[in-house]
């Protein structure tokens, strides 16, 4: 939570908190100390006061005793008592009372009867008589007597003449004046209490009234001294427990409280002052932090905007911020450096440092916008992969770098292209050079010159290497105005050069369009394969068993009528599908639709073994076998009803997997057939090891079999070869009766061709089958 506050308020809070804690701690400890001291002081004071009080009462007693002795020793007094001369007694009491300044004087006979009384304050006989007997019990002792809310310290002494003839009682009133005297001595207030009633006190009457409740003697703890609201701390000193007479020593706590309050307020004042000062200082401190922070924040904002060049710091900053500033500027430099690096990598080929395809396109675009006429030459290194294998990648890289250098040199030496030429690497073995041209006639010499320069020997360590290059060219005058178009066409020209084994070849108009058409066709085929209502369909061409003249087999052939309603040559679009990888989906389509058709035929009792053409990509595809099995199972088609046809070329590709999978399929019951036998790279050794059930002799040997004795020899020997290898032989392309007869005479098992039937759709095939009559 604290971190959400600004630095300034954090500092302010922190310092204020510290000050408050310090103030409280100091006050508390000082308060305790003061309270302890005060308590001790009060205790000392109380002890002292108690001593003084005792001393005072003792001396009063002494005075009383002395005074009373004097009285009782007076012969005249004795005589007056002995003779009960009451007038005299009274006068003596009065006289003596004045002499010693007594407040109460009484004469009592031995039986306790009051003889005479003299008092400063009016005292009636009745008020005394009942108390006399009690007083007499404690003759010779200092006693306290309360009469009419006045308290007397008195002494009872016998009058001896010489034996006791009566008692003299002399007393001093403990008046307010005497308590005030004591207060002067002890600096404590004294209150005399009888039966819990304040009789007399050194404290003002009015104040006493107010503080009535304070004159309690409840124990007061150290802290209470400071906190309690009571104004007095009291101590009880008992005079006469029976009569309930005691003195209350009270020390005023007012002064202590006032001192304490003063202390608290002064500490509060100081704390407040320091808090104010600290707030001011924290403002200064935070300014010292936030100003450089703001400065640095602006700096980072500049960096984030991309201003990576950071000027040297000219502001006076604290050391840490200076370091931070320096760190930011280093960071900016690093970012700027890396940005350049990234930009370079984004625009250039990593290996050669030439432009990459994208950058090259940009440059061509810029040049064309600048109305420059451009010549684009694309250079292909022939069989770079083989070089890689023989020389090793490092050496090939070195050759590529050398070639790139030569391109750069060529541009530098090209007088017309100093500021216009550019070289890029668009593929691993393909380079593109952009030059400006002024004259179409100069193109050819230019390209020859370029070819000569680039085909000069390359040195790999001490080995001299000659590269074979194919150069394709386009120019912006004849072949297009957009960079993409020019680049595509120049590469097309280069590929054509490679294909046609030409060193230099210019783009020919229309090549690009054919290429685009192919792409369009592939796209349409892709859609066709995946659409519900497919424009693809299957035709079936029957195979005739020559031994019994029955139709036992048929080949499923894919057909396509495109959007324009044209029949597309199957060889054409199957070839495209193989190149574009669509063949797998296409074959899946064929398998599925064949299975669907065969289920229907099985239901109507038409028992035909159908062969399906597979490509090498199909059989190598990891999901092919699963797809095939699950599909025929789904449509209740037995593997025995299917023949898988592959060409020799397909069998040769990735032979290990192909053989393994085909063997597996063969054991499941599928027949494996070699298609187009005789025109590929036929290898008898392969034929020997392959799991093949059937050989299908290519139609080029059959089409004019009856007229060509060489074909007859090839076919007859191939058939006998097949038989020797335990294979059945199929001849396709049978177009006349004579050929069919020849094949039958050679022992060929099956024949397929227009003479028997064209490929027809499923319904037509059923109709044809039903109407078929062997008449060969």
């Amino acid at each position: 939570m604290l971190t959400r506050l600004s630095i300034r308020s954090q500092v302010a809070w922190l310092s204020a908190l510290l000050i408050i804690i310090t103030a409280i701690t100091l006050t508390t400890s000082y308060a305790f100390r003061t309270a302890q001291l005060t308590e001790k002081q009060i205790e000392r004071q109380m002890r002292y006061a108690q001593n003084v009080l005792t001393q005072y009462l003792s001396s009063q007693e002494q005075l009383l005793v002395t005074a009373t002795r004097v009285l009782t020793a007076d012969f005249g007094f004795k005589q007056a008592i002995a003779t009960r001369d009451n007038n005299t007694i009274e006068s003596v009491l009065l006289n003596h009372g004045e002499r010693i300044n007594a407040d109460l004087m009484m004469m009592v006979d031995l039986q306790g009867e009051l003889i005479s009384i003299s008092a400063k304050e009016k005292v009636t006989n009745k008020q005394v008589t009942e108390k006399i007997s009690k007083l007499l019990e404690n003759a010779n002792l200092s006693q306290f007597l309360v009469i009419n809310k006045r308290i007397y310290q008195l002494i009872v002494l016998p009058v001896k003449a010489p034996r006791e003839i009566g008692y003299a009682i002399v007393g001093f009133q403990l008046s307010k004046a005497s308590l005030l005297n004591l207060k002067n001595l002890t600096s404590l207030d004294i209150t005399l209490v009888v039966n819990e009633q304040n009789i007399v006190s050194s404290i003002d009457e009015l104040e006493l009234e107010n503080e009535r409740n304070d004159l309690s003697v409840a124990p007061i703890t150290t802290l209470d001294l400071l906190i309690s609201k009571t104004n007095y701390f009291n101590k009880k000193i008992s005079f006469d427990e029976n009569a309930g007479i005691y003195a209350l020593l009270s020390t005023s706590l007012k002064e202590v409280h006032e001192e304490f309050n003063q202390l608290i307020s002064s500490i509060l004042f100081i704390a407040l002052l320091i808090i104010l000062i600290s707030m001011f200082l924290s403002r200064l401190l935070s300014k010292g932090i936030s100003t450089p922070l703001n400065y640095l924040m602006k700096l980072t904002a500049r960096i984030s905007r991309g201003e990576l060049k950071i000027a040297k710091n000219e502001q006076q900053l604290p050391r840490e911020f200076n370091e931070l500033y320096y760190a930011f500027s280093t960071m900016g430099e690093a970012i700027s450096h890396r940005e350049k690096e990234i930009k370079f990598q984004a625009e250039h080929d990593h290996l050669t440092g030439l432009y990459n395809r994208q950058m090259l396109l940009n440059i061509i675009g810029e040049r064309i916008s600048a109305k420059a006429d451009l010549l684009l030459a694309s250079i292909n290194i022939k069989s770079l992969n083989q070089l890689n294998d023989t020389l090793g990648p490092e050496n090939v890289d070195a050759i590529l770098r050398t070639l790139a250098e030569r391109l750069q040199t060529y541009i530098a030496g090209h007088h017309e292209s100093i500021n216009i030429g550019a070289a890029g690497r668009v593929d691993s073995d393909e380079f593109v050079l952009v030059l400006s041209i002024s004259d179409l006639h100069k193109i050819e010499p230019e390209l020859i010159n370029l070819h000569d320069r680039l085909t000069q020997p390359y040195w790999v360590d001490d080995i001299k290497m000659n590269l074979e290059l194919n150069i394709g060219s386009v120019n912006s005058i004849m072949h297009g105005k957009t960079p993409e178009l020019l680049l595509r066409r120049v590469i097309m020209a280069m590929r054509a050069a490679a294909k046609e084994k030409k060193a230099i070849r210019q783009y020919v108009d229309g090549e690009d369009e054919a290429y685009l058409q192919k792409i369009q066709m592939i796209e349409e085929l892709r859609v066709a394969i995946h659409s519900e209502d497919s424009p693809l369909f299957l035709n079936y061409q029957p195979k005739l068993n020559l031994s019994n003249n029955k139709i036992e087999k048929a080949e499923a052939l894919i057909r396509w009528i495109n959007k324009a309603g044209n029949f597309v040559n199957p060889e054409h679009f199957v070839g495209l599908a193989e190149k574009s990888g669509l063949i797998v989906s296409l074959t899946h389509w064929v398998i599925k639709n064949v299975a669907i058709q065969m289920e229907k035929w099985n239901e109507i009792g038409l028992n035909i073994r159908v062969s399906v053409n597979l490509s090498a990509q199909d059989i190598q595809h990891p999901e092919f076998v699963d797809y095939l099995l699950s599909t025929i199972e789904k449509y209740n088609v037995s593997p025995n009803q299917l023949t898988l046809e592959l060409t020799e070329r397909d069998l040769a590709e990735n032979e290990e997997i192909v053989v393994q999978r085909l063997s597996h399929l063969q054991t499941l019951g599928f027949q494996i057939s070699v298609d187009d036998y005789g025109i590929g790279q036929s290898s008898l050794s392969k034929l020997k090891s392959l799991p093949v059930d059937e050989l299908k002799i290519d139609k080029c040997f059959i089409l004019s079999l009856e007229a060509c004795p060489k074909d007859q020899d090839i076919v007859s020997s191939t058939i006998s070869l097949g038989h020797k290898l335990n294979m059945q032989v199929v001849a396709e392309g049978v177009e006349n009766k004579e050929s069919l007869a020849l094949l039958a005479s050679y022992g060929c098992e099956y024949a397929q061709g227009y003479y028997i039937s064209r490929p027809v759709d499923a319904d037509a095939f059923v109709e044809w089958y039903n109407n078929y009559e062997p008449n060969y």
Partner: protein, 216 residues
Amino acid sequence: MLDKKTILACFIVLISLGNSAFATTISIIDQHGQPLADAVLEIPVSQSTKSDLSVPLIMDQVDKSFAPIVLLAKKNSLVSFPNSDDIRHHVYSFSAAKSFELKLYAARPKSPIKFEQDGIVVLGCNIHDSMVGYIYVHDNTVTLKSNEQGKIEIDEVPSSAKSFFLWHPNAMKGVEHRDTLPISLLNSKEKEQTLTVITKTPAPRNTFGELSKHAH
């Protein structure tokens, strides 16, 4: 303070009366068992005893004390108060039996004082408070005083008497008080009898020293 039982016990006769023909020794003690000197035993008699009243009795003052402390005097006796000290005395009495005053004098006062009334006369000296003396004035009775050992020898107890008095200056009941006891107490067959007089025991003097102790 003594309770009533104790007081009663004091009057119990310990020894039965002896033959009147034999002399009896009476021991006077206080409640603590201490022998009491100057105790007076008075037995009233019917026939008067003759004595010479013209010769004054002597109540001397020696060493700031009356000598004797207790003087037995028959009614109408003359008592002289010679002063044997080398200081002056001021002898006085406020007693009902005889109130008089011999103002500061040395050696012998001019004339002896006649005590016309029976009773106890307490003597004091106005100058020396500690001086206390007594004159036991009796009227034609057998009056005896205990010696230092508190003993009184009685030769013969008058047969007419029914009761007798026992007095001591420090008696609890006051200086004027005499105990009246049955004569049978004296007619014991035993040779020695003990009588108890309850005297004032000096009370302890309290001070504020104790007061302050209470306060703590």
